[in-house]
């Protein structure tokens, strides 16, 4: 299911004195099966955009199409998206509501009409995927640590096995190993199920490591899209949009200020860096 967005404008509380324009004329296309990252400074419109994809907001102007479902300003019913698009919201505590962690995670699958047995199986599997210890299944989701709460919210969405998985800052508050494991798991699920993943993140390292396509928002407009290797090596322009280079890119830049010939700029992760440096070193050893 491709996601196509055309001239999307969203104005909160339009026509009131509190009117707030959040998106202006956004055009974009996310091909089915992509791992897309949406990045941009605070208030640039990321959460507003993905709430459209989730069918929770309607465009003020313009339209979007997900598979064969089209949503415009006059669309009455966007519930057809339910079950297809799963969203992990920015603040997970707004998403949890059941009496226990297990019931909370089972809610989505049961709502999709799955049997209690199957729902149960999915709960166990999702808890394992997000690294929640089993003994927390019977705990109230409001009596968890911050990171455990976020894991529970993510598990609830993964258990629905949506075609499109939308993640708004899914790793904020997770410990670094948990972050890595969660995103590795999501990348694996995406390959296995040909799922589309849309990640909103303030971590340039995450966007660089996992995304195959990057969309940059700035003050409600899409200012750039393309491959991470191209966008993350734009230097000063990133800062203009309130972003920064991934650490690996910064390190390469420091090295290249002195190194002749320079290393390729498109090294985005520590693995890329390792390979490039080792290759150069071995080259030098055997002239």
């Amino acid at each position: 299911m491709d996601i196509v967005i055309q001239k999307l404008t969203h104005v909160y509380m339009e026509g009131t004195p509190f009117e707030q324009r959040a998106l202006t004329g956004v055009d974009l296309r996310i091909p089915s099966g992509s791992f897309a990252a949406i990045i941009g400074a605070t208030g640039s419109g990321k959460s507003t955009l993905i709430q459209h994809i989730a069918g929770l907001l309607k465009p003020s102007r313009g339209w979007l199409r997900i598979g064969n479902i089209e949503i415009g300003p006059d669309t009455r019913d966007s519930s057809r998206l339910r079950g297809k698009v799963g969203v992990v919201f920015q603040y997970p505590e707004h998403q949890l509501f059941e009496e226990t962690v297990a019931k909370d995670i089972a809610f989505g699958p049961l709502n999709l009409g799955l049997s209690a047995l199957e729902a149960n199986r999915r709960v166990e599997r999702a808890m394992e995927w997000v690294g929640l210890p089993r003994e927390l299944a019977s705990r109230s989701p409001f009596h968890l640590s911050g990171g455990q709460m976020r894991r529970a919210a993510v598990a609830g969405v993964l258990a629905m096995e949506p075609d499109i998985l939308v993640l708004d800052e899914p790793t904020a508050g997770l410990d670094p190993v948990g972050r890595r494991q969660l995103l590795d798991r999501i990348a694996w699920l995406r390959r296995k199920r040909a799922m589309t993943v849309i990640l909103v993140s303030h971590s340039m390292e995450e966007a660089a490591r996992y995304a195959d396509r990057l969309y940059i928002l700035h003050r409600g407009r899409k200012v750039m899209e393309g491959l991470p290797a191209d966008l993350f090596t734009m230097g000063d322009r990133l800062a203009k949009w309130g972003l920064e280079e991934p650490e690996a890119v910064r390190l390469v830049r420091c090295l290249n200020e002195r190194l002749n010939p320079p290393l390729p700029e498109s090294l985005l992760t520590v693995e890329d860096l390792e390979e490039a440096i080792v290759a150069r070193w071995e080259e030098g050893k055997s002239p």
């Binding site: 109230s140 410990d175 309130g242």
Partner: protein, 282 residues
Amino acid sequence: MEPIIQLDGVGFRYELPREGKSDWSLRGIRLTVHRGEHLAVMGPNGSGKSTLAKLLNGLLIPSEGCIVVDGLDTRDGKTLPAVRRKVGMVFQNPDNQIVGTTVKDDVAFGMENAGIPRKEMLERIREVLDRVGLNGLEASSPHHLSGGQKQRLAIAGVLAMRPEVVVFDEATSMLDPAGRKEVLQAMEELHRTGTTVIHITHSVREAFCAERVLILENGKIQWQGSPRELFLQSEEVCRWSLEVPLAVELKNRLRERGLPVRQDIVGTEELVETIWTLLSRN
């Protein structure tokens, strides 16, 4: 070094709605925080960091052991308001901390509750907004601020109470890179001017700014020392669900591949220097 907070044999268990008491979320904590110190607290999810933070300002009271803040025992109900004034807290979600309809009202809120006279209040508002760099925005609605500005507003509200200690519980984790930088600068400024800063974080880059790092795991203090010492022991760091800085990870990988890179490198600059030397020599 003069102690500002002392914990002796502190343990804590939560009250659960159905099951009664939870397991120990913290156990056997002995810790002295020094006046003016910049301490980072790290550890896996659920290891007890936020519980520790809430114990420090009396939001939670130890199930066993005791905590003394600048001479005041947090178990003593009468001194709790004083403890809360001494130890301010800044949390993760900036939106949840905003109470006022303007920036100025928001800062005033805590002081009004504490009965601080109006004249003094106005002076303090000016002073703290200046310190966090929000002067000029007094009449703005907090909801129109950026994430970094909201967090600095939360810090201003805390500073207005003239706390001795400010605890940041993942206060940067929801911010964009620019916002994170703003808050870290505000934190540095506090530390420089003598306030004790306790910073709970999952970010190694942020922990690097601290003088001492404390690692919690399973409700116990597993390790403490300087950031540099911490990142030299990569294996343990991984066991504690943390990560090492990029430069350290790259160094480890290069060493494993047989490149002659010194073991004691932790900083980016040192590593860049080393790699440059290596690659230009041959």
